[in-house]
Each structure stands twice: as structure tokens, then as C-alpha cells.
Amino acid sequence: MSILIYANTANGKIHKSALEAVAYGSKIATDMGTNATAIVVGACDDTDTLGEYGATKVLHANDAKFNSFDPSVYTKAVTAAVEAEGADVIIFSHDFTGKAIAPRVAARLDAGLVSGAVDYPKLDSGFTVRKAVFSGKAFANITINTDKKVVSLLPNSVDKAPVGGSATVETFSPEVGAASVTVKEIIKESTDLPLTEAEKVVSAGRGLKGPENWGMVEDLAKALGAATACSRPVSDMDWRPHHEHVGQTGVAIRPNLYIAIGISGAIQHLAGVNQSKTIVVINNDAEAPFFKSANYGIVGDAFEVVPKLLEAAKAFNAANN
């Protein structure tokens, strides 16, 4: 028995979400009295960092056929590792890659899957994992009843402090068959911080009147080291790109800090953001429903408040660096 963690990479490096997944998996391994093995698929030159987060072994499937991401090929690599390690619990990060392969791995192993876990499993009566449901309006505790168990962890859900171990790295060469998906082109967006993993998010809504007014939002986000997001009408009107749309029918996020500027706080918007640790609302309407879900509120005109806030954030940065 062991725990296997799929450690995602980006541009040939271990991705931040993978460190969290490995920290999560190795804590489960400790609780279950076993070891944590990580599998890395594709080119990566810092696999040894996974040891610092609790993996005792890293399997590295580093072959040219893994250069582009084909979910069915990656699934076969992961299930081969499950077999080689006799793993009973398989952990993914619930990100773009995890969403594409965790369910395939579960189907292939005929294993129960909880996707988007927000906490460690409870092991006292079986294996029960907590996840957000109804787009953040509630939580469910889900028990996995199969021998093999697959869990994908929502990014930014558990601590990921290094524990200071080290891992042996082994080359892993699974049989995976031919690719069925060919990558034609990769289009990079300007930001390299995916919204779902950002610890701080500055978001704005229809109250900003038009796309030309987003400069101050971007500046504030930059000063705070935050990602930018928006409400649905804003992306529907193409003021902002679709991937910035947060809410029940957009991306669900749970950053440490969510600043909402000129957003009314409709139930569908709240659904995707109300698990943020700290919510700041800036709105010129004191009756805006969003204030009911806010930790901090400023009643005022965004065009006056945001530039002042930007100055204050810059002053804070200057004083603290």
C-alpha cells in the first residue's frame, strides 16, 4: 500500500499546485502509516524539490511522447505507476490537468473519486473527503467506498510548508500506447498566474462602466501581487476575457483576499467567490447586497476610491520592502 501523487509541471518545472498536492498526499501517507510516491510525467528539471514536501520517491516518466499533454496517454502512465507502487490512494491537483486525467484514472481503476477536495480525508470511519458543492453554497462530506481511492485537491486548500525531506528519483518508462490528441498550437496569455491558484484577486464589475477603465484595476492588482477577475456581464460584453469570469457559471475561486469593485453581489456571483478568506467590497451603493458577504466595505465611487487605494498599497509596499 502507498499513496501516489500526480505532480503537475509547467514549462519543465514542478508547478506550485503540485507542491501542495504532494504535501497533502504525504500527510495522508503519514496518517495511514505508509509512504508517499510522486509521479512526474514529461520533462522536468527540479523533481527533487518534491522530497522537500514529503515524497520519499519520485517516478519520472520523461520520454518525448509525454512532451504534449494527451489525457489518455497521461492516464496510462499514472495507472501504470499505481500498479508498480501498489498505490491505494491517488492524489491530483484539481486544476486543468487534474480535471482531464483524474476522472480517467478513476474510471480505469474503477475507483471512487472526490474532485475538488478542500481538506484532508477523515479516516476514522472509512475515507471521507470534504468538498464544496452547489458552487460554493455548501459543503459535502463524501465517503469513497472502493478499495482504490482518487482525490483531486482544490488549489490553495491546505498548507504547503516544506517538511525538509528528500526523495529518490527513478526513471519510469510505462507502456502507454499512441497519442490520440495532437497539439497544434499553444497561445499564452499575458498572466502566468492562473486565477484559481491566485492567493489574492482584484475583481471588478459593471460598475466600472467600460473596458477602458480597467487600468486602475490592473494597477491595483499589480501593486498587491493579485490576479484580476470580473463579473459575468463584464466578460459577456467582452470588456474582459472569458477566463476572468468568476461565479457560479464561471470560475470558482477561494483566494485569501478578494476585492470586489463595482460588483453588486448577485447570488450567482457570490457562489463562485464566497469561500474567499477575506472579502473587500467597494461600491457606491450602500445597499449593494455584496456588503452582507464582506469582511471590509468601502461605500464610495470606485473612480475615487481605487486610485487612493492604489496609492496606499504602493506606500505600503515601499514601507515593507
Binding site: 508547478h15 499533454f69 489525457p71 489518455s72 486544476d95 486543468f96 490537468t97 480535471k99 483524474a102 476522472p103 480517467r104 474510471a107 474503477d110 474532485s115 475538488g116 468538498k131 458543492v133 452547489f134 455548501a138 459535502a140 462530506n141 463524501i142 465517503t143 467506498n145 472502493t146 490520440s180 490528441v181 495532437t182 497539439v183 497544434k184 498550437e185 499553444i186 497561445i187 496569455e189 502566468d192 498566474l193 492562473p194 457559471t249 464561471g250 470558482a252 485569501n256 483576499l257 450567482q268 478568506k277 477575506t278 472579502i279 473587500v280 452582507k292 458577504s293 464582506a294 469582511n295 471590509y296 468601502i298 461605500v299 465611487d301 487612493k308 487605494l309 496606499a312 506606500a315 505600503f316
Partner: protein
């Protein structure tokens, strides 16, 4: 081109979420149900557009009991040609995926489309599971989909950007925002939907592998702390010293 669109039922986005039976069941009392928005707005509409371009048919599939017939009729009203309902109330994604795969394997669909996730359980699981069970290529979170003969060209969201991929059909694709614009059914569609075929198929008997032990509502937020608009420096200080998030 034979297209299957899998649709799921979801509570209306304004539904009040509450639980009964000692927090083990979702309280459906007074809850309106809708077609899961990702299935309807993006997967179904893109399926219909592809049919309009290439001819063929669009079948909608739901795994569920007769209670789901109204939302299936809605999908027919938007323009699907026929519907299939696999007659079982699934209790997890793997069970539903097994039922879908068992049915779809014998039907010769060129394309299986579904939404990227449901707005109730937010699992993002079924598409990938169906693909694995049918041994088909799968693209998740697709924002653009074009077809010619036996090749699909798909743009999908990835970490920090978009990837354009090509794959041969049959294939499974999960749809995200951007793939199509929602359509509102017109009167003719609603009338026609009443007489379109809705075939009920017996379930294969697949079982679930997970159970929901309990639900919880999130803890209530405390009072909002208001800061004067002329003194925004205080907010930065509170975020640093009190909330400790900057």
C-alpha cells in the same frame, strides 16, 4: 454527423440551498430545476450549430428518472432532435458515466458533448470518465470546437493560456464558456418539443462508488467592517495587521 449531448439537471442558480434528514439530503422543497447551464448554453448549442453546418442529428441524453422529463423537453425545445433518458437516479459521477458509456457504445455517435461541470456537484468528472470507459480521445474545458469530416479542432483552457488541439472522431469534449451563445427556445420549438421522441432506456445496473455522508452550510460571515472612503489607508493596514492577507 451523429452528435450526443449529455445533459444534467441542476437546481436553479437562485435556489436556496438547504438540507433535510439530519443534513444528509438536499432539500428540493420549492427548488426549481434547470438544464445544467454548461450543458445547455455551450454543449447543446454548439452541437446544434455543428448539425446545422454539417447535417446529421443531435440526441440529448439524461441519466435520471421521469422527474427530469421537463428539463429534457427544454433541450428538445432548444432544438435537439430526440432524447434518451436512462431510467435510474445516479448517485455519483462514475455510475452515471458507466450508464452513458454502456448506452453510447452501441449507437455510433461521432461526437459526445457535455458541459465542463454541473453547478450542483461541480465534479468535472463525467466527460473524462465516459471517454476512458469508451476508450475515446477527450478534450476538457473546450472553448472552441470546429469539425470537418472526421477531425475535430478544439481550443481548450490550460494553465496560463489556450491550447489548440486536433483529434479524430469519435471523441468526447467538455464545453466551457466561449464555445457558443445560449439560445432561448421559441414558441415553435416549444410546440415541436412535445412530440419529439423521448426514449426511456433501462439502466444497466452500474453502482456508485461513493456516498455523501453529510452536507454542511458554510459558516456565517461576521459583520462587515466599514472603512471611510476618505481614509482607505486604514483598509491596507487592516488587511495587513488584522486579516493578515497582505
Amino acid at each position: 454527423m451523429k452528435i450526443l449531448v449529455c445533459i444534467s439537471k441542476a437546481p436553479d442558480t437562485t435556489a436556496k440551498i438547504a438540507f433535510t434528514n439530519n443534513n444528509t439530503e438536499f432539500d428540493t422543497n420549492g427548488v426549481q430545476f434547470i438544464v445544467n447551464p454548461y450543458d445547455e448554453w455551450y454543449a447543446l448549442v454548439r452541437g446544434l450549430e455543428l448539425k446545422e453546418q454539417h447535417s446529421g442529428s443531435v440526441t440529448v441524453l439524461n441519466v435520471g428518472t421521469a422527474e427530469n422529463d421537463p428539463i429534457i423537453r427544454k433541450a428538445l425545445a432548444i432544438g435537439a432532435d430526440e432524447a434518451v433518458r436512462i431510467d435510474v437516479n445516479p448517485t455519483d459521477a462514475l455510475q452515471a458515466a458507466k450508464e452513458i458509456a454502456t448506452y453510447a457504445k452501441t449507437q455510433g455517435f461521432d461526437l459526445l458533448l457535455l458541459g465542463k461541470e454541473t453547478i450542483d456537484y461541480n465534479g468535472s468528472q463525467i466527460g473524462a470518465m465516459v471517454a476512458e470507459l469508451m476508450d475515446l480521445p477527450y478534450v476538457s474545458l473546450a472553448t472552441k470546437l470546429d469539425m470537418n469530416e472526421t477531425t475535430a479542432t478544439v481550443s481548450r483552457d490550460i494553465q496560463g493560456g489556450t491550447e489548440v488541439v486536433e483529434l479524430s472522431t469519435p471523441a468526447v469534449i467538455s464545453a466551457a464558456k466561449g464555445m457558443a451563445e445560449a439560445r432561448i427556445p421559441n414558441m415553435r420549438g416549444i410546440m415541436a418539443a412535445r412530440t419529439k421522441p423521448l426514449n426511456v432506456v433501462a439502466a444497466s445496473g452500474a453502482s456508485a462508488s461513493t456516498t455523501i455522508s453529510s452536507y454542511e452550510l458554510p459558516p456565517a460571515k461576521g459583520e462587515c467592517h466599514y472603512i471611510d472612503a476618505d481614509n482607505v489607508g486604514e483598509l491596507i493596514e487592516l488587511l495587513h495587521n488584522e486579516a493578515k492577507v497582505i
